[in-house]
């Protein structure tokens, strides 16, 4: 095994994080599901005419929340950018599970790498800017008056993840294949660095990136980020 102790601990923590995340989210959903439902429907009028329209509205209100645009345009813009970039960046990480051969077969391996570099890099920068906006906003009144430490913890963890991710994207000399080997070694329950990573200083950036992800993922089910699922339920109440 060619991992330094720190990187090894971080890798082991991945398992803990996955377990805590799954258990935590399951627990949250069970608590929600088991609590009594209010007997009456207190949605906002005009209410949807039928179940189909209701479904459409729940989806629209959860993904686009158009009414927000009218009352706080910049927050809407940055929230949209952030979430879209987050989604694309997360999706990009699946290259670590398996190379997107369905793409490289069409456009070629080199082009896929370029696409990853440009696309991933752009998403990283968008997220960083959006996080900067989130953070900056919370230092100003009246946002600081309603912020609690949880809000800052999440933004800082995210900024750590994104910042270190961008660092690997823009400064590292390590290739996707090497990261993929690292990722797959964790998936096989035998965490290890290959030669390229073990030789490179970038392994520190990588391990810190993963450490921040672990902390973030562990905290996720106990934070306001359960809005990942909760938004659909809450927006359903609006339409009932």
């Amino acid at each position: 095994m060619n991992m330094d102790p720190f990187s090894f601990i971080v890798a082991i923590l991945v398992y803990v994080a996955v377990i805590v995340f799954v258990a935590g989210m399951t627990f949250k959903i069970i608590v929600w599901a088991k609590s009594p439902r209010m007997k009456i429907n207190l949605g906002i009028y005009p209410k949807p005419r039928n179940g189909f329209v209701r479904f459409f509205r729940i989806i629209r209100d959860s993904f686009i929340f158009p009414q927000t645009l009218e009352v706080d345009r910049w927050m809407w813009v940055f929230a949209m950018l952030f979430h879209a970039a987050l989604f694309v960046a997360l999706f990009g990480h699946f290259r670590l599970v398996r190379e997107f051969t369905f793409v490289s077969n069409v456009i070629g391996q080199d082009n896929l790498n370029t696409l990853g570099a440009v696309g991933g890099g752009t998403m990283g920068i968008i997220m960083l800017i959006a996080l900067g906006y989130y953070l900056f906003r919370r230092f100003a009144s009246p946002y600081k008056d309603i912020s609690v430490p949880e809000d800052f913890i999440l933004i800082i963890l995210l900024a750590g993840i994104v910042g270190l991710g961008d660092h690997m994207r823009f400064f590292g000399a390590v290739h996707t294949e090497d990261y993929r080997e690292y990722f797959q070694s964790i998936m096989r329950f035998k965490p290890a660095f290959n030669e390229a990573l073990a030789q490179s200083q970038t392994r520190w950036v990588l391990s810190w990136h993963v450490l921040f992800v672990n902390l973030f993922v562990i905290y996720f089910p106990f934070s306001k980020l359960v809005h990942l699922i909760g938004t659909f339920f809450a927006n359903k109440v609006r339409s009932e």
Binding site: M38, I44, V71, P149, F222, K224
Partner: protein
Amino acid sequence: MLDIEKKELMIQTLKNKVNKQLLYYLDVCARCAICRDACHQYKVTRDPKYIPAYRAELIRRLYKKYFSVLGKLFPKIYEAKDIDDEFLLSELYQVTYACTGCRRCMYYCPFSIDTLHILSVAKAILLSAGMENQILRELSDAAIMKGENIELFKDIFVTMLKESEPEIREKIKDKNAQIPIDKKNADVLYVALSGMHSILPAAIIFDKAKINWTLSMFEAANYGYFLGDSQKAKTIADRIVSEAKRLNVKEVIITECGHAYRVMNFFYEAWTGQKPPFKVSALIDSISRYIKDGLIEVNKNPSSEIVTYHDPCQVGRNGGFFEEPRYVINAITDNFRELTPNRTKSWCCGGGGGLVAIPEMDEFRIKTGEIKANQIKETEARIIISPCENCRLQLDSLNEKYGMDIKVKSMMEFVAENLKV
């Protein structure tokens, strides 16, 4: 410091109020403050404690303290607070009884968080601490007292009604017209407010439309609801429900009073677990039906004055009547001009939530009504119609304070004035 037993009671109250909706709302709020400018009270005062999310946050701090593992372990992360924290309770009292329950914040929140719902839990906690609003409590108790001693009030009430009957007969040229009371097997029980202003115009309309109706001895207003005491609120509503059952009516029509309709049509079921055994209608809905069905006719364009309409939050966004009132107004005048924004986005007038009944809130509600006042001025209307008593009282105050030079009317008044006889 509150004593231990009271503290236990307050925690228990919070626990009893936990339901799905509350959990979603407490768990998902991102504290993004998108809701801030949706609330007229924050927008006018710029005081952070009136941001809807801040109001909800006060309850969230208690919830984190007692019901979340991490909140118990690391209260600082969530600023979790003890339920007997005096500063928290005093802020909670202020922002809870200030909220008009307009739910405009819910409309704009990306997660549709219902701040009013969270604050109904706040009211329950304040009640269990003996910190409820005293004026609303007195008004609720008075209503309950009246229900228990209705015989004492009946004679005066009947005399007052009899005195008004000639006016109706004169108006609709029908010498048999009357204001029936205690009439068994009537089709409709009409529930008004105290004061002839909410009885007379409706009586004119019902009698003209030849409805088989009877007047309730009780007023529709329910201060128990504003107080947040579901026990008292239920007792107050029950006066009307048992009267309707006793008289065996088919339909109960609630006068133009936003919360009263919601109490009968929604909350009564939540408090008692059953729907009232009759149809519940709102008077504006009935009036628009009478016109549509040709039961009454109205004069078109009695004057060239511009008429505007204020959507009461409890009638529009929270009650579902947007087109009915517009249909009626358009039946009478071609000079109807909308406020902007309107319908589901309508600004609260600032007087809801029982605020008009609380003298200490006068200054605050008139100040926070500024947005509504400006909106009305922009239309250059000379008549504003609003089918909610609280809104009309508030609009009267605004009219005076902001020099709007406008006549505030109920829909029944507007229709009765312009009735074709």
